[in-house]
């Protein structure tokens, strides 16, 4: 067992364009997956947090139940199966219908996968907001959606920001699974390089260092945002 560091550096420099393309795709997937997953999570988590009251009309109770059933099924499936399997299954299943490229399919899959995790984070965030907050909003005459958007979501997001941000780190790493549908992210690119020079150890040392670099930078950025959120004197759009 030996690692040739000089060789690793040489491989990196020689294949810089392949690696840098891989890095770009990996970052694209991490960012798009996290942002879209977050938006999916807001909707799904919001539905999950709706309370069913015994005074609701039977129609609204039916819709709430249906919403909850569909969202819990979605979360159950996407958190309970590997993303690699989801990728293979959905890519080929929907290829005839959408005629999509691996790039687009991959973005869809990582978003919908992240959404399932985000939904549970956001549901917990919504439930962590004191009931008095929405009662105060109601007592002013605000509608449910105004209350959610202006009062509940901002607090739920702030309370769960570390978990939300963590999904970005997870996605930087887990986007590598999408190599199974030939998305040319960093792992896939590394495999190509290694396949041509047969220096597996050195190639994957390069990949590991790049991944570590990306996750470290992201952690710093997330910590910075978190600090800002906690000290911020928010001035909302409606007041400035």
């Amino acid at each position: 067992m030996s690692i040739d560091f000089a060789k690793a550096w040489e491989i990196f420099v020689e294949n810089i364009s392949l690696f840098s393309y891989g890095i770009q795709i990996t970052l694209l997937y991490a960012v798009v997956g996290t942002v879209c997953g977050f938006l999916i999570g807001l909707v799904v988590g919001g539905i999950r947090a709706i309370e069913i009251n015994d005074y609701d009309s039977s129609v609204s109770r039916l819709f709430k139940r249906l919403g909850k059933w569909i969202t819990s099924f979605y979360i159950w499936v996407f958190r309970g199966t590997p993303m690699m399997v989801q990728a293979m299954f959905l890519y080929y299943l929907l290829k005839p219908a959408f005629n999509w490229t691996p790039l687009v399919a991959g973005l869809f899959i990582i978003s919908i996968n992240t959404g399932a995790y985000m939904a549970e984070i956001i549901r917990a965030g919504i439930q962590s907001v004191d009931a008095g907050q929405s009662e105060a909003a109601k007592s002013l005459g605000m509608t449910t959606s105004q209350t959610l958007i202006s009062v509940i979501f901002p607090q739920a997001i702030k309370n769960t920001f570390p978990s939300i941000g963590n999904q970005l780190i997870v996605n930087i790493k887990d986007s590598s699974m999408l190599n199974v549908i030939s998305v040319t992210e960093l792992y896939f690119q590394t495999t190509s390089v290694a396949g041509s020079n047969m220096k597996y150890i050195e190639c994957f040392l390069v990949a590991a260092i790049i991944y570590l670099f990306l996750t470290t930078i992201s952690t710093f950025i997330l910590n910075y945002i978190e600090k800002r959120l906690n000290s911020e004197k928010q001035s909302k759009d409606f007041c400035s």
């Binding site: 004191d130 008095g132 907050q133 007592s139 002013l140 509608t143 001035s235 409606f238």
Partner: protein, 247 residues
Amino acid sequence: MDTIIQVQHLKKTFKQLEVLHDINFDIHKGEVATIIGSSGSGKSTLLRCINLLERLDDGHILYHGQDILERHFDVNQYRSKVGMVFQGFNLFNNLTVLENCMIGQIKVLKRNKEEAKQIAFKYLEKVGMSAFANKSSAQLSGGQKQRVAIARALCMNPEVLLFDEPTSALDPEMVGDVLNIMKELANEGLTMIVVTHEMEFAKDVSSRVIFMDQGVIAEEGTPEQIFEHPQEARTQTFLKRYLKTKE
């Protein structure tokens, strides 16, 4: 007299527990009704029913003669006219003091920002909190929070303001400030329903005192009637116990 709210045969049950039985009373314009009674007698639940934060199981609440439980009744419009001040303040944690006072005006009353800001400052001034306009609620003491909460409710130009033990969560030295503001509002003719354990306040300020016991209105009348000549044995016991604990 102009009747604003009529509560008729109101009944409220939590699971098996019947918390309010057959409550009846009217609130007239300019009136200050205080609700007193021991813990668990259903005072908060009654206020919450009036604001529709709780659903009634039976009975009616009329607002200017209109049943607020009617299918087509505009609940949000009603709530903007019937404000509420909570024991726990419930200022919006994600907003500044000023924003707390503006959000309802903008979202519900559809006032523009400039107007809303002006009105917010007017009422923050009134409660002595305008200097704190850009602070977040976490930076305020309990008494300050409650004053902002009162300003937030006033910004909606409510017809009636409901107070649920607004001073119970405050340090003793803060209680006076909040009660003085409420007295001032009463003197200006604002219609108020106040649940309170502050008997002095109830005596001085209210036009009517409602004594609740175990989910019913046991006795009601003018402050003199209730505090000087209570008719019911339950009222007498409650007041006696209250005076004792106070000494």
